[in-house]
C-alpha cells in the first residue's frame, strides 16, 4: 500500500512475519480494503539461530528478486540482530539493484513513530540526483494505516490546487519504487505531522527543500497553511485564502444547529486541544460534564473537509 511494487522481507522466524501480516490484514479488513503488502519471511528456525541466518536471508532475497519487484526492503527481527547476522552485507552482495535495510529488532527500542521515521529515512536512499525544483510539492509521511488517509490527501490536493500547485510525490503512499527517485525534486515538503520534524530537517539538509511541519488542522490553521505554502513558493495566496474562508463560513453556517450545545470532550490528545478550543469558540459550545460526548479523531482531521466530517459525526451524536 505504500510502495506498490515493493516486497518486504522480515529476517526472522515465520512468527514475526505472521504477526505483522495478521495485523495489517486485520486493519485492512476493518477499513473495507483487501490489499495487503507482500511480506516474505526468511523463516529462521533454531538451526539458523545456532548456525547463522545469513544464508536463509540470501535465499529469501533471491526468492523476492525472482518476482521482479521494484524494491526489496529487509527488516530485522530481535533474534537476527542478537545473533549478529550482517544483514547489510548480505544485501550489498545481492544482485538486486534496489534493496534497503531497516533495523527493526524490538530490543533496539523506539516506538511506532520511530519506526516510521527510520523507514522514511531509509527509503530516501532511493532519491535520484537532484533536479531543479519545479514548484511542486512532496507529501512526507502520510499514515498508510489511517482510515481516512486518501480523504486527507484529496483535501490537501484541493487546497494546494487553490494555489495552482500539484503534488508531485506521496512519500510514501501508493507509489512505485521508481517514483521514489523524485524525492528532492519538489520545491516544498509537507510533513504529515510534527513528529516527522527530524525527517523534514534531514531532507532540508540533504536536498535544500524547505518544509511545512504539518498538514493543515482547524479553520484558521487551514488558512494559515495556504499562506505558508504561498510564502514558501512565492505565490500570492490572498485569493486562495479568500476562497477557502468563504468555503469555511458556508460550512459553519451549515452546522449552525450545533451552536450553543452543551458538550463534554473526551479522549482528547494534547495535540487536539487547540482544535477543540477553536471549535468551542466558533460554535459557541458549552463544555460541561453532563454535555453531549464529543471526541476529536486521532489523527486530527485535515483541512476544511476534515472538519466537515467531524461536524457530521457530532451531529449524528447529537441526534442519537
Amino acid at each position: 500500500m505504500a510502495v506498490t511494487d515493493g516486497i518486504t522481507i522480515i529476517h526472522g522466524p515465520d512468527g514475526c512475519a505472521h504477526h505483522t501480516t495478521s495485523l495489517l490484514h486485520a486493519l485492512q479488513v476493518d477499513h473495507d480494503r483487501l490489499f495487503s503488502p507482500v511480506i516474505l519471511s526468511s523463516s529462521l528456525t533454531e538451526s539458523e539461530i545456532i548456525f547463522g541466518g545469513e544464508e536463509a536471508l540470501g535465499k529469501a532475497i533471491r526468492s523476492a528478486d525472482a518476482r521482479k519487484p521494484g524494491l526489496i526492503c529487509v527488516l530485522t527481527s530481535c533474534v537476527s540482530a542478537a545473533i549478529g547476522d550482517d544483514v547489510q552485507s548480505v544485501c550489498n552482495s545481492s544482485p538486486c539493484p534496489d534493496i534497503i535495510v531497516v533495523p527493526t529488532g524490538g530490543f533496539l527500542g523506539g516506538g511506532f513513530s520511530d519506526g516510521v521515521e527510520q523507514a522514511l529515512l531509509a527509503l530516501s536512499a532511493l532519491a535520484g540526483p537532484g533536479r531543479e525544483p519545479d514548484g511542486s510539492v512532496t507529501l512526507i509521511g502520510e499514515k498508510n494505516l489511517e482510515y481516512e488517509v486518501d480523504a486527507q490527501y484529496r483535501e490537501l490536493s484541493r487546497l494546494l490546487s487553490l494555489l495552482g500547485i500539484r503534488v508531485r510525490l506521496r512519500f510514501v503512499r501508493n507509489v512505485t519504487a521508481a517514483a521514489l527517485s523524485q524525492l528532492g525534486s519538489g520545491s516544498l515538503n509537507i510533513l504529515r505531522d510534527p513528529s516527522l520534524q527530524e525527517v523534514g530537517e534531514s531532507f532540508r539538509r540533504r536536498f535544500g527543500t524547505p518544509y511545512i511541519p504539518s498538514f493543515p488542522v482547524g479553520f484558521s490553521g487551514t488558512l494559515r497553511f495556504l499562506e505558508q505554502v504561498g510564502e514558501e513558493l512565492g505565490i500570492d495566496s490572498r485569493q486562495a485564502v479568500k476562497t477557502e474562508r468563504e468555503n469555511q463560513e458556508q460550512l459553519i453556517g451549515n452546522f449552525r444547529d450545533l451552536r450553543g450545545a452543551n458538550v463534554s470532550f473526551y479522549g482528547l490528545s494534547s495535540s487536539a486541544l487547540p482544535l477543540s478550543e477553536e471549535l468551542i469558540q466558533r460554535f459557541d459550545l458549552r463544555p460541561c460534564n453532563a454535555g453531549i460526548p464529543f471526541s476529536i479523531p486521532d489523527p486530527l482531521p485535515v483541512g476544511t473537509a476534515g472538519l466537515s466530517r467531524t461536524l457530521h459525526r457530532w451531529r449524528r451524536v447529537c441526534r442519537a
Binding site: A82, G84, D85, N92, S93
Partner: protein, 273 residues
C-alpha cells in the same frame, strides 16, 4: 589512510599481550593508536593502563543508557598516548556477548571514536557468533592477524578462524583479508618452522615469530607492556619489529583453511622430526 587491524586466535594464546605491545610500539613510532578490546573479560588494555581495568562500554550502557555516554566515559589514554577502549559484556554463562560487541561498535561510531593512524582490535579467542566477527565487517579491520603457537589446538583454532575470514572476504564489498600469522612461541621443537609452514599452507605468511620469554611474564606482573617495562630487551625489539612489519605489510590474502587431516599431518611432521 587509517589502518585497521584485528588480532584473532585461540584463547590464552597471547593476543592481548601481543596487541598491547604492538600498540605500545606503534605509539613509540609517533602514531596515534586506538586499541579496542572485544572481549567480555575486558583485559585487553590492562597492560597499557598500568594494570587498571578501565570501565567498559557495556557497563556504561547498563548504568547510564547508551544515549547518555560521552567519549570520555569509554576512551581512556594509556601508555604513550594510546587510546584504550574495552567493550566488556556479560559475565560467563549469561546474556549475549556478541550482541554487546555490535552495540559497542555502534556506540563508538556515534561518538566519533574510531579515528587515528591505527586501530587495533583485540578479539576474544572463540569467535562463537556473528557479533565477534564485527571487526571483520565492512568499514572496520582490513587486515586480520592470527596469533598462534605451534600447539595443534592453537593451529586448529587459527585455521578455524580462517573460515570466517574466507567467508567474509568473499562478499562483494568485503575488504577484510588475512594480513598474516604471528607466531607466539611456547618453546616447542621446530615451532617457528611449523608456524611458518602452516601460514604458507593456508595461503599466507608468518609475519613474525615472537619467542617465549620470561620478560613477558615479568612485564605483566609489573602491569606494563614489554615495550614499557624493558624497552632495551630483545623481546621489546621483536615487538617493535612486528609493529613495523605490520605497518609495511601490503600482502593481504584470502586464506584457504586446511582440513583437519592435513593440519594433523603437518603437526605430526614436525613432532616426529
Amino acid at each position: 589512510m587509517m589502518k585497521q587491524i584485528a588480532l584473532y586466535g585461540k584463547g590464552g594464546i597471547g593476543k592481548s599481550t601481543t596487541s598491547a605491545n604492538i600498540s605500545a610500539a606503534l605509539s613509540d613510532m609517533g602514531l596515534d593508536i586506538l586499541q579496542i578490546g572485544c572481549d567480555p573479560k575486558r583485559d585487553s588494555t590492562r597492560m597499557l593502563m598500568q594494570g587498571r581495568f578501565i570501565p567498559t562500554v557495556m557497563d556504561q550502557v547498563r548504568e547510564r543508557g547508551d544515549r547518555s555516554i560521552a567519549l570520555e566515559d569509554v576512551v581512556f589514554t594509556g601508555y604513550g598516548g594510546v587510546r584504550c577502549v574495552e567493550a566488556g559484556g556479560p559475565e560467563p554463562g549469561v546474556g549475549c556477548a556478541g550482541r554487546g560487541i555490535i552495540a559497542t561498535f555502534q556506540i563508538l561510531e556515534r561518538l566519533g571514536a574510531l579515528h587515528g593512524d591505527v586501530i587495533v582490535y583485540d578479539v576474544l579467542g572463540d569467535v562463537v557468533c556473528g557479533g565477534f566477527a564485527m571487526p571483520m565487517r565492512e568499514g572496520y579491520a582490513q587486515e586480520i592477524y592470527l596469533v598462534t603457537s605451534g600447539e595443534l589446538m592453537s593451529l586448529y583454532a587459527a585455521n578455524n578462524i580462517c573460515k570466517a575470514i574466507k567467508r567474509l572476504s568473499g562478499r562483494s564489498r568485503g575488504i577484510c583479508r588475512l594480513g598474516g600469522v604471528i607466531g607466539n612461541g611456547k618453546n616447542l621443537d621446530s615451532e617457528e618452522e611449523l608456524i611458518s609452514r602452516f601460514a604458507e599452507r593456508i595461503g599466507s605468511t608468518m609475519v613474525q615469530f615472537v619467542p617465549r620469554s620470561l620478560v613477558v611474564q615479568r612485564a605483566e606482573l609489573n602491569k606494563k607492556t614489554v615495550i614499557e617495562y624493558d624497552p632495551g630487551s630483545s623481546q621489546a625489539g621483536v615487538y617493535r619489529h612486528l609493529a613495523a612489519k605490520i605497518m609495511e605489510n601490503t600482502r593481504l590474502d584470502i586464506p584457504e583453511p586446511l582440513e583437519m587431516e592435513d593440519l594433523e599431518a603437518l603437526a605430526y611432521e614436525f613432532i616426529t622430526n
